[in-house]
Symmetry: C2
């Protein structure tokens, strides 16, 4: 008797989420890179080249300022991002990639792409495409408590 059987969709989704997270972490570790989480990768993805404020990052990521702040500061702690003053306004600071951040970002994206590739080989490219399609569909307004 094991964990197979009637797994509900939410559980399966969570498992898949963690599969990616664990696999990415492992791949990064093997590559000798800093442990960047999928969420932090998402932050990188919405970062402007010239720098972006935390509030703007939050908007683009669809989370609260606090969450974006936390994600950004994790990366700042790793030396992958830096926070610089915005010349145009003293109340806001720009989040920017450091040189190492640029490198790690690219590497992590590459590893994630490889992960997807490996997964496609395993479960079938069409199945993976179907997965992405389903996830990108409009799931409607279920969560009134979330920003965005």
């Amino acid at each position: 008797m094991n964990a197979s059987g009637a797994r509900s969709l939410p559980q399966l989704l969570g498992d898949a989420r963690r599969w990616f997270e664990d696999a990415l972490t492992q791949a990064l570790a093997e590559a000798g890179a800093a442990p960047v989480s999928p969420t932090q990768l998402g932050l990188f993805a919405v970062l402007d080249e010239q720098g972006t404020t935390v509030a703007e990052l939050a908007r683009r990521m669809g989370v609260t300022r606090q969450t974006a702040h936390q994600a950004a500061h994790g990366l700042i702690g790793l030396g992958l991002l830096e926070q610089v003053a915005d010349p145009s306004s003293a109340r806001q600071r720009l989040i920017r990639r450091t040189a190492e951040g640029r490198r790690t970002h690219q590497q992590a994206e590459l590893l994630l792409a490889r992960l997807e590739h490996a997964l496609a080989r395993r479960i079938g490219a069409d199945t993976l495409t179907a997965l992405r399609t389903a996830l990108e569909a409009d799931w409607g307004p279920p969560s009134p408590g979330r920003p965005g």
Copy 2:
């Protein structure tokens, strides 16, 4: 400018997970039932009628004893489960549903099924089926740190 654009699979998976969680919580609240999480529903799903030990629950759920313990005690705190002594062995205690637990369990399962139904209507039944199929596929051994 919003959160659309290049969302990675892990992010999409997490979003979907939270969509279900939020929607279920909301539906339960509207029905006046106790706030049961998807994980706790999973616990209910692997519970034997006559009662099950925490360690066995953990095995069936594919998590550690500690995690199962925590999920179970959340439900005990809500009055939906109870812990009784196992007559066959003094070192283990059986986790069992209370009368209210039975009711809430059924109600939550029903609401979750309705959620899926509503989702199927929205994104297409075939798409939803494809999603489930993809998630239930064998994703391989990515996470060496997980039990099961």
